[in-house]
Symmetry: D2
Subunit: 279 residues, 4 copies
Amino acid sequence: MDYKLAVRDNHPEDTIIEIPGQAGITRIGKGYCTIIAGPCAVESREKYLEIAVQVKNMGAHILRGGAFKPRTSPYSFAGLGREGLKILEEAREITGLPVITELMDVRELDQILRYSDIIQIGSRNMQNYSLLREVGRVRKPVMIKRGLSATIEEWLLAAEYVLCEGNGEVILCERGIRTFEVMTRNTVDIAAVALLKDLSHLPVIVDPSHATGQRNLVGPVARAAIAAGADGLMIEVHQNPQEALSDGPQSLTPELFLDVLDHLKDLAALNHRKWGQAQ
Amino acid sequence: MDYKLAVRDNHPEDTIIEIPGQAGITRIGKGYCTIIAGPCAVESREKYLEIAVQVKNMGAHILRGGAFKPRTSPYSFAGLGREGLKILEEAREITGLPVITELMDVRELDQILRYSDIIQIGSRNMQNYSLLREVGRVRKPVMIKRGLSATIEEWLLAAEYVLCEGNGEVILCERGIRTFEVMTRNTVDIAAVALLKDLSHLPVIVDPSHATGQRNLVGPVARAAIAAGADGLMIEVHQNPQEALSDGPQSLTPELFLDVLDHLKDLAALNHRKWGQAQ
Amino acid sequence: MDYKLAVRDNHPEDTIIEIPGQAGITRIGKGYCTIIAGPCAVESREKYLEIAVQVKNMGAHILRGGAFKPRTSPYSFAGLGREGLKILEEAREITGLPVITELMDVRELDQILRYSDIIQIGSRNMQNYSLLREVGRVRKPVMIKRGLSATIEEWLLAAEYVLCEGNGEVILCERGIRTFEVMTRNTVDIAAVALLKDLSHLPVIVDPSHATGQRNLVGPVARAAIAAGADGLMIEVHQNPQEALSDGPQSLTPELFLDVLDHLKDLAALNHRKWGQAQ
Amino acid sequence: MDYKLAVRDNHPEDTIIEIPGQAGITRIGKGYCTIIAGPCAVESREKYLEIAVQVKNMGAHILRGGAFKPRTSPYSFAGLGREGLKILEEAREITGLPVITELMDVRELDQILRYSDIIQIGSRNMQNYSLLREVGRVRKPVMIKRGLSATIEEWLLAAEYVLCEGNGEVILCERGIRTFEVMTRNTVDIAAVALLKDLSHLPVIVDPSHATGQRNLVGPVARAAIAAGADGLMIEVHQNPQEALSDGPQSLTPELFLDVLDHLKDLAALNHRKWGQAQ
C-alpha cells in the first residue's frame, strides 16, 4: 500500500488535535471522547444561535452547521453561503465553542479558514484531490468524511493527500457506506472504526445521523461507535426536525440529544475516556 | 410489508427463549446477554471437549460447533457429520451447556433435533424455504443467520416462514453483509441490530467473528453489538487458530476470549443486562 | 482456485448440451443461440398451454414455467406444485419442446426428473450444497442461476459441486446481481458473461427479465447478452402481464416477444450463431 | 424526481452534439456510433502522436488522453499537466480529430477550454457541484462519467447541474459501478444504458476499458454496449500496454483495437447506425 503517513508504522502514537478557544482547549483523539453537534445546515441566524447555545449547555464540544451544502439536486436548498459563515462566527463567540463547516470549492478556502476551526471535506469530495492538496497546505484541522463507496484504503489515501502536503491534523469521519440495504440511509461500517484505530494514529469520528438516516437509531449507533473505539461523534440536532430544510428525519430534538449524551458519558467513563473539552 | 408475526405490532413484548439444561436454564432475549462460543467446526473429539470445557469455565452460555459445514468449494473440509454430532452431545453432557449446530438439509433434521438444543440456519440457506418451513414445524429454537446480501426485510420474512408454521422461538443472527469493502471479510450492519430491536420482538445475536474475519476486530465489534442493543454474541474460539481447519484468522485463542468477556461483562452491567445463564 | 472441472484447463472445448424431443434435438452451447421462454409461473392449464403454443410458434426452443416458486414472503403465491408439473408435461407433448422448471427441495427431485428436461437451481439455492450434490448424481442437464450476491468464483464452484459428482451437463444463468442501484430490479453483469465464455467451457444463458425487472429493458439487454457471447436467453412472456401472479412488470407480451426475437435472429446471424433447435 | 432538463419530458428528441474540426464534423448521439480512443494518460509527445495517428487511421473519431490524472494515491503518476495539454493540441492538428481530456479543478478550466474539444468530468468528481456548475456556464460539450457508486438518478442530477446553467451539450459515460465482484475492475451496468436511452435525450457512451479492467473483455463489452443502444465507446489503446504508466492491463494494442472496430462496424450497420464522423 501507498500509506506512509496515515498509518502507525512511522507514527505509533495516537495523534491528538487541540483546538484553542474561549472556553479552553478542545481535544480530539488519544483517549478523549468529543461531541460535535448542531443542525445539518445553518438555516437562519436566530435558529442557529438558539440551538448552538442549547447543545453547548447540554455538553457538546464543537458546533456543526453547513453554510455551503452539497445537494444531489441543483434545485435543493444549498446553504446560506457567506451569510451562514458569519452566523457560525457569531455562534462561536457566544458559546466559546469551536465550529466545523464544509469546504466544497478551492476558491472558498480563504473564507472557510477565516470562519471555521475545522475544515470538513464531505463524502462527495473525498477524492477531490485538488481540494485535498489545498487543505494540506494550511494550518487547520481537516475532517475527511468517508466517500459513499470508498474503501478503507482509498480513505486512508485521501488522508495521505493532506498529510503529505504537510498538514498533520487530519480526522477521519465514518458516515456510512452505500450498500444494497434500503431500510437505513447508509450502512455504518463499525468494524472500519476498530480497524482504523488499530492501523492508523488519526482520530476517528462517527456520524450516526447520516449513517442511519433515522432519529431512533442515532443513540444506539452512537453508543456502538464509542464501544468500538471511536474518538467522538458528529450528531445532528434541530429544534424542530419536521421543519428542517435538510435531513429532518435523522435530526435529534434537543431532548433526545440530551438523553443520548447521558448514556454516552457513562460509556465513556467505563472506557476510561476523557470528555473532549478542558474546563 | 408481509410481516405479521415477526414484528411488534401483534407481539409488543420481547420474546425470551429458555433452554433447559443440566446447568440450569439458559435464556436468550429480553434483557439477557448471552454468549455462544466454540470453534467453527468440530474437528476431533479430544480438541472439541477440551475447548468446550474451557469456554464454559470462562463464562460462555452455549456451545457452538459445526458438524455439517457449508463450504464454497466442494473440495474443502465439510465437517465430521454424524460423528461431529455425537461429539457435541458428549460436550453437552460434560459441560451442562446447551449446544447449537447448523442444519443444511431437510433429511438431516431428525439427527439435528436429537443432538442440538438450537437449530442454526446458515446464511446460504436463509432463503431455503423448504428448510425454513420444516424447522417451523418442530419445537426447538431456530437461529437464522442473515443472508450475505439479504435485506432486513427479507431476513424478517425468512423468520416469518418459521413463525407462520407455528414455531415462535426464532433468533436472528447478524453476521455481516457483502459490500465492496475488502479489508474485512464482511461488513457488520450495526444499525440493523438497533433497527431490529425496535421493529421486532425476536432476540438478535451478533457474530463478530464471521462479520469481520479478523481476530483483532472481534472484541471491539462485540462491544459495539452489545452497546447497540444485541441480545448476545456468537464467537469463534479455538485452542490453536493457526491449525484450525476453517476460519482460523478470525478465531480467538481462549486467552483473548477471556479478555473479550471481561470487557463485555462490564458493558452488560452498565446496560442493566443479565448474564445469560441462571445458576 | 478450487476450480477443476468447470474451467477450460482440462476441458478446452465448449460443452454442448443436447436435449432430444419430439421436435428434434435442442442444443445449448458451442455456437448455438437458444431461447427459453414462457411465463414466470404456471398459473393455470388453459393459460399455460396457450402461451406455450404461442412462444413455440414464434421461435422459442425451450419452455419455462415455475411449478414450485421460491417467494420472499410465506404469504405469496408459491406455485401449483405437482399440478403445475403435469401441465408442463402436457405443454411438452403439445409443442414438442423440452421444458425447464425449478427444483427447490431434494425431496422433490424424483418428480422434477419425471416432468422436466432441464433442472433449474434458483438464485436462492445456488449455495444449497445438498441440492447441488443431488443433481450432480442424476443424468439430466442442470441450469444454475447465479446467486444474488454470488461472485463469479462462487458461482463456478457451485457448478463444480454438480460436475464433481459426475453430471457434466451444467448451464450457467446470469440473472443480475444485487447492487445499490434501485431503478432496475438487479444489475445484469454483462462482463461476467464474456469472462465466463473465456474461462469456462460451460454454456452461459442470460435472463434479462429478472435482471432488469422492466419490460422495456428486456430487448436491449437480450441483444447485449448475445453480443457479449451468451449462448442463449431466458425470457418471461405472459399473455396478460398486468394479471400475472408474479413478475408481471418484467414479462413481455407475445407481440413484444416476437419483436425481440426478430432482432435477435439478425444479431445471431451476424455472429455466425446457429438458432438453437434442429428441424 | 428533480429532473427537468435531462429527461425527455420537455425534450423528446435525441440531443446530437456536433464538434467541428479539420477533418469535418464529428457527431455524438442521434443514431451515430462514435469511437473515442487513445491511451489512458499522455505519457510523452512522441508516444502520444504515434498512437493518435494509429487510432485515427484505424477509424477512431475522437482522441482521448489524460493530462491531469486523478490518482487514488498521492504518490502515483498524475499526468504531465499543461505539457500534456500541448501534446493533445499537437495531436489534434496532426490528425484533424477532436480531443477530450479531464478537468479536475475549476482553476484549470481556462486551460482545458483552450486545448480540449470536450471536457471530461471524471467519476470521482461526478458530485463536485462547483465544477459541474462552472462547466455549465461554458459553450463546450461536457462528458460526465458515472460515479463509482452513483445511482442513475444521481447521475442524471449531475447532468442537470450542467444543463440548468445553460450548457445543453452533455454526454453521459457509463464506466462501471462498484459492486462486490472482484474478478472485474468494476461492473458495467448495461441495463443503465438502455434505461437512459429511454428516459433521457442525452447521448450515452460506454467505457469498456475502465468498466472491466481486462483487455480480453473490452471487445465483448463494447459490442454489448452498442447492442444495448449506446451512442459510442471510449476505449483505451496503448502501443505497449505492459509499459503503460496507468491502466496497462485494460489497454488494447493497436492490433486488438482494429479487430474490435471491425466487429463494431458490422454491428453498427445492423442497427442502422451511422459511423461518427462525416467525411
